[in-house]
Amino acid sequence: MTDITAQTAPRARWLTRERIIKWAPLLVLIVLVLLFPFFEWLEDFRESKEHLYLADSRFFSIRNAARIAIASTPALMVAIGVTFIIIMGSIDLSMEGTVSVCAVIFAFAFIGWGGTLTSWAWLAIPLALLVGAVLGFINGLVHVRLKIPSFMASLAMGFVGTGFALLLTGGDRIRVEDDLFRSLLTVRWFNFPIMCYVALAMLLIAWFIQSRTTLGRNFYAVGGGEELAHASGLNVSRVRIMGFTLAGIFFAMGALLAVGRIGIAETATGNNFMFISITAVVVGGTALWGGIGGVWNTLVGVLIVNVINNGMVVIGLPSYVQDGVLGLLVIAAVVLSTDRKTVSFVK
C-alpha cells in the first residue's frame, strides 16, 4: 500500500535527465562562449602565434561582453514581451509594427517637448510605454473579441503598426541627439553602458511579474490548460488581453532602447525583431505550445543568438555562411533543450 500523504520522494540522483534538459539552454550558451575563443586560438595556433586560450581571446573579454549586451538589449525587451504571450500558448507577431510606432512617437514627442531629458520631454518615455500598451491592448482585443487566432491577428496588427509608423513619419527618420538620453549608450558603469542596466532592471521587473503577480501566474495557468483555468473561475479573456497589453509595454521598452542605441527613430526601427525574438524565446527553452519557460530562459536565448552573431564575425566566418550556421545552431540548441519524452508531437 502506498502512502499517498507522504511527500514525493526527493530525486535520488542530482543529474537527472529533466534537470539537464532544464539547464540545456544555459549549457549551450556556455559551450558557445567557450567555442568561439577556441576558433580564435586555433587560428593563431595555425599561424604559430602566441595565444593562451581564453586569456588572449578577443571574444572572451569584458569589452566584447558589453558589445554583445548592447546588441542584445532591445531584442531582449521585445523577446520578454513575447515570452509572456508564448507562455500562454499564443503568439504575437506584431512587434515590428509596435516597436516602430513607439519609437517614432517617442522621438516626435521628445523633440517636440524640449528635446532633452531635463525638460518636459522626459514625458515622452511614459507616452511611448502607453502607446505600446494601447497597441498591445488593441491587438489583444482583435484576437479575443473577434476570435481570430493570435498568429493572424497579430500579424495583421503588425502591418497596421508599420503602416501607421510610416504614416507618421512620411518616411523621415528622426534623430534623438540629447546627450542625457544618449548616455544610455555612452555612459558606462563597470564597463557596461547604462542601457544594459535598464534592460536588467526591466528583466527583473518581468521576472517579478512572472513569479510574484497574479497576472504572471495566470499566464502559466492559461498555457498549462486554458479550459481548466476557465473552469477554475479564471477570466481567461481578460488574462489574454492583459498579456498582449503587457507585451506591448515591453515592445515599447525595446523601442526606447533601440532608439537609445542608434539615436534614430524611423519606420525601420522595428525591422528584424519578429524572427529574432521568437527564435530567441524558443532557443531559450520556452515551448511554443505554452506553459513552460520564462524570462530567464529568454535572456539565455537572446544571448545565445547574439553570441552566435557576434562570434561568427569575430572568428571571421564569411558573411554568406553566417545565415546558414546560425540556422543550424538554432536547430541544435532547440533540439538539446526539448524534452522529447514529454512531448507527444510537434507541428
Binding site: T2, T8, R217, G224, L228, H230, A231, L234, N235, I292
Partner: protein
C-alpha cells in the same frame, strides 16, 4: 436549500436532461448514480455552472439563481471536485488551490508566496495531505492530486459565508481503500459546514456514504431512495431499467476459445516504469480482460501490442512472429485493431466524415497507386452503417457530430472491416448509453465467435467479469492474479478488488 426544478437541457440531437428535480438539504450527502450517459455529468455541469439549463429553475433557499460560468456558481458556494484531473500540471499545488482567487494574497500587487503557502497548508491539512505546497503538481501521484482537488474546493469554506454544496465526481476511482475511508471521514466531518453531492460507480460506497440517493436513467431522475431503504439490486435495476443479468453481458453467448493457437504472446515483457514482467497468451476467440486501477499499466500493455510503446525487456510475439520494431503501422499490418479510450481524440478524427474515418487505417485497400477509390469507400461505409445500425444521416456526416455510441461503432467498423483479428479495446463503453453498450457487447461476442482475440480494459468490473474468458489483475505494473471467467464460474467483484488494491 439547493434545488433544481424541472431542469431541461438539450444538445443538438440529444435531450440530455428531462425535467430533472433535484434537491440538496443542509448537512446532507446526496448520492447520484446512473450509467454512463444517463445524464449525470450534464446535471453536474448545470449545477456547477458550466452549462446553463434550457428550461426550469435553479434555486438557493428559494431564490432563483442563474450562473453564467463556474465562477458565479462558486460565489454561491458551489464547488466541484473533478473526476478527470483538472489541476494544471505546470503550476504548483498552492497555485492550483487558489487559482482565480490569488487576490487575497496580493499586497501592493505582489503575491505573498509565504502567506499563500501557509493558507495552502491549512487547506491541505483539511484533507490530511502533508506535502510542500510549492511542489509542482505534475510531480504528485494521482491520489495526491485527487486530494489536492478536494482541498481546492474546500477553500470555499473560508470564502463563502452561506451554505456550501460540493460535488464529488468519482472521487474514489483512483484511491486505495484506506484513502477512501480517509476521504469519507473527511466528508462526514465536513457536513457540519457543507452539503455534498457524491457521484460514483462504486455502488457500495454510494450506499455507505449517502443520506439519499438519486438514480438517473436516460436524462431523467427515475428514483430517489433514502439511505436506510437503499438496496444495491433495486438501484441497479432502476439504473439499467431491468435486472443486471447474464443476458446483459451476453454470457450465454460466451463460447470456449481455441486454446491451441496463440495470437499474442507476452513473455516476461517490461516497459520502463509502466509495467514489468508481464506474461500471458491471447487465443482466437478469447476475451482477455486486464483489470487494475488507473495507472496500473493496463493501457500501456495495449499500447505495446499495438506498437505505440516499445518494451524495454521481454519478447512480444504476434501470430508466432516475434515483434522487433514497434510502430503502429506494424501493428495494423499484423491485424491488430485498437479502440482507444479517448474516443474523440484518438478514436475518430473529428472533422472527417464517416467513410473517411472508416478507411483511415486501411486506405491501401481502397486505393490503387495512392489514388483513392472513393466510390468503394462509400459503399463500404454504407454496408457497415447498416450492419452496425450507425445512426447518421449519410456517409458525409462529420464524425465529430455523431453521438458517442455511433462514434464508437465507426471506430469498430474501421477495424472490423479492415479484417483485424486482434482487437484491443480500451474502455470501449465509456460514456455510452445502455443501448449503445449492449450493441458493443453484442459486437464483442460476434468478434469472439469469428475467432478474433480481444484484449479488453473494461469500464467497470462488472463488465470485465461479465465479458471475459480470462481476467488478469495488475497492480502497479506487476501481475497479481489470473482468473478464469468461464460462465457460471466467474470470479466475484470482491475477488478482483482484493487483488487490485
Amino acid at each position: 436549500m439547493y434545488e433544481l426544478r424541472q431542469v431541461d437541457k438539450h444538445f443538438p440531437g440529444v435531450h440530455a436532461l428531462k425535467a430533472v428535480d433535484f434537491k440538496v438539504n443542509r448537512h446532507e450527502i446526496v448520492g447520484l448514480v446512473g450509467e454512463n450517459g444517463a445524464g449525470k455529468s450534464t446535471l453536474m455541469k448545470v449545477i456547477y455552472g458550466a452549462y446553463q439549463p434550457d428550461g426550469g429553475d435553479i434555486t438557493i433557499d428559494g431564490t432563483v439563481v442563474r450562473f453564467q460560468n463556474p465562477r458565479q456558481a462558486m460565489n454561491h458556494g458551489i464547488g466541484m471536485v473533478f473526476q478527470e484531473q483538472s489541476l494544471i500540471l505546470n503550476l504548483t499545488v498552492m497555485e492550483n488551490i487558489f487559482l482565480g482567487y490569488e487576490q487575497q494574497f496580493v499586497k501592493f500587487g505582489v503575491i505573498d508566496w509565504k502567506a499563500m503557502a501557509q493558507a495552502a497548508k491549512r487547506q491541505l491539512a483539511k484533507v490530511k495531505l502533508d506535502i510542500d505546497p510549492a511542489t509542482t503538481t505534475s510531480d504528485l501521484s494521482f491520489a495526491q492530486r485527487q486530494l489536492v482537488e478536494l482541498a481546492k474546493v474546500l477553500t470555499l469554506e473560508e470564502r463563502i459565508d452561506g451554505d456550501l454544496v460540493i460535488l464529488l465526481d468519482e472521487p474514489t476511482s483512483v484511491l486505495a481503500k484506506e484513502e477512501v475511508e480517509l476521504l469519507f471521514g473527511l466528508v462526514r466531518d465536513l457536513t457540519k459546514r457543507a452539503s455534498f453531492i457524491f457521484v460514483s460507480h462504486r455502488m457500495d460506497e454510494v450506499l455507505e456514504l449517502s443520506d439519499r440517493i438519486y438514480v438517473m436513467k436516460d436524462g431523467a431522475v427515475v428514483d430517489v431512495v433514502a439511505h436506510d431503504e437503499a438496496e444495491v439490486d433495486a438501484i441497479q435495476h432502476k439504473m439499467v431499467g431491468r435486472e443486471v443479468d447474464k443476458e446483459y453481458y451476453r454470457e450465454q453467448k460466451q463460447k470456449p476459445y481455441d486454446a491451441g493457437t496463440v495470437l499474442v504472446g507476452f513473455d516476461k515483457v517490461s516497459c520502463g516504469r509502466r509495467y514489468s514482467d508481464i506474461s500471458f497468451d491471447l487465443h482466437p476467440g478469447e476475451v482477455l480482460c486486464l483489470v487494475g486501477t488507473e495507472g496500473s499499466g493496463r493501457e500501456a500493455i495495449l499500447r505495446t501490442i499495438f506498437g505505440l510503446d516499445s518494451p524495454t525487456a521481454g519478447t512480444v510475439t504476434i501470430k508466432g512472429e516475434p515483434v522487433t520494431r514497434f510502430a503502429a503501422q506494424g501493428g495494423v499490418s499484423r491485424g491488430v485493431g485498437y479502440i482507444p479510450r479517448e474516443r474523440k481524440i484518438e478514436g475518430i478524427v473529428a472533422g472527417m466524415n464517416v467513410y473517411e474515418n472508416m478507411t483511415l487505417s486501411q486506405m491501401g485497400n481502397y486505393s490503387s497507386g495512392g489514388v483513392l477509390k472513393v466510390g468503394e469507400e462509400k459503399s463500404l461505409a454504407r454496408a457497415w452503417i447498416e450492419r452496425l445500425g450507425i445512426k447518421t444521416p449519410d456517409v458525409y456526416k462529420d464524425c465529430g457530430g455523431l453521438s458517442g455510441g455511433n462514434q464508437q461503432k465507426v471506430v469498430l467498423a474501421k477495424w472490423r472491416s479492415g479484417g483485424a483479428d486482434i482487437m484491443l479495446l480500451d474502455h470501449p463503453t465509456r460514456g455510452l448509453d445502455i443501448g449503445a453498450k449492449e450493441d458493443v457487447y453484442e459486437m464483442i461476442r460476434e468478434m469472439s465467435d469469428a475467432g478474433v482475440g480481444i484484449i479488453l480494459v473494461a469500464d467497470t468490473l462488472e463488465e470485465a467479469i461479465g465479458l471475459s474468458h480470462t481476467i488478469l489483475v495488475i497492480k502497479d505494473g506487476a501481475f497479481q492474479k489470473r482468473f478464469d471467467g468461464t460462465p457460471g464460474a466467474k470470479p466475484t467483484l470482491y475477488d478482483l478488488v482484493h487483488h487490485m488494491i
